[in-house]
Amino acid sequence: MNSPPGQPQGGRRAPFAGARIGRDGLLELRSPEAPRPAPPRVPEGPEVVQAFISRHRPFFTLVAVLAAQLVLLSLQITPAQHEPLAKAWAVAALAPFERSLRGIADLTGGSWHAVRDLTQAERQNNELQARLAADQTQIRNLAENATENHRLRSLLDFRAQLPYATVAAEVIGSSPGEGSNTVLIDKGGDSGLGNDFPVVTPEGVVGKIVAVYPHSAQVLLLTDPAAGAGGLLESSRAQGVLKGTGQGLCRMEYVMNGDAVSPGETVVTSGLDQVYPKGLPLGTVMTVGNGNIYKNILVKPAAALDRLEDVLVVVAKRPAPEEAKARH
């Protein structure tokens, strides 16, 4: 009895793996499964290059041969500059790179020098500024010295012209508070100063000493309300008394309304107060007005009483040269 197709006959099995009994009862061999093909191997870098060179070997051979012979020619041919072509080609090939490197080096060096110069310039700038400040200070000092020199020279000249013995003094302080017009000078009793000694400058009268200390003295300015000096109008020869207003100006009193006084007229000391020597400038008439009996005359002091620095204190009337000869 035949078994169904595909079934082993009579229960017979295939004698070995890979075989089976077919319909006709014949043994059929089944080919084993074909192995999967290996994936293609991807060539790596050097292999690619090698394959490329092998494929184009004739071309690379030609290039190599031509290059070798061109080098040979360049070693022999010498142009007009008397240098072989090889040298000329080598120099021409390297020159752009050398120029580029030189450019980079110059740029780097230039930048470094610029930074260094900038730092140096900053340091120099600071030094110069310090020197400038020092020089400016010195210049100011020199200018101050020159001004002081001029002022002192003027004082000296004025002193030489005065027929009085004087002591030069420097204003070292002023009185605090409003309404008080006094200054302190650096000469006192040890220099022979005394109360009521007149104090003058080349411009005019300043005031008189009202207090003497061993090494300093206090001077009452003309503009103080307590101050007063005998005045004489230089043009009209009218006499009066100059008194301070306490506000930087003076007032000429006891000048009759009938006396001719005009603004701008100079007022000098009359000498009648026995304090100030005669003829010293007191001030200039600013305004003139008639009062009840006397004129109202406002006088601007001749001396710059708000900028006093060096003054002369009249200590005694200097003897005349004839009297000095007679004495000796």
Partner: protein, 170 residues
Amino acid sequence: MPASAERPINVYRVHPLTLWVAAFLALVLQTFLPVVLPLARLLDLPLLVVIYFSVTRRSKVFGTLFGTAVGLAEDALSHGFLGMFGVVKALVGYFGAWASVKFDLEQFLGRLALTAALVLLHSLAVDGLRHMLLESPPPIQPLDLASLVLLNSAMAVVLFQVLDRFRRPA
């Protein structure tokens, strides 16, 4: 005539002795002939030898190296600089081998045309090299160039027939 994919390429072999004897004789004749025959100045037997063997061997590497060797030998025998003819004959050998694979050169006309082209290439390359390297190169004379091409092509016809007797199929 361009080569087709199905055209059988005949490769020949030449005995190395034949190769070098032919080159040697070409050089010797090239130096001797102009003395007795002024027209021989226009001939370039070493060039024709290079063309023949490069085409016959169909190998670009061989053509380059053989052309270089013959060119350098020619330079050594001439007053010029070493490498002048070596460079141009290397180019001729290369392009001759290249053309032998690309075109059918078994026919007479094919050979003649290739020879003429390579002779022209050789002359132009020499002039170009002189203009490039020398400060005062000689001027290019078109008539001389044409005469040179014609004479060498005619000489090649005879020479190639003689040399064909010494080649064997590979």
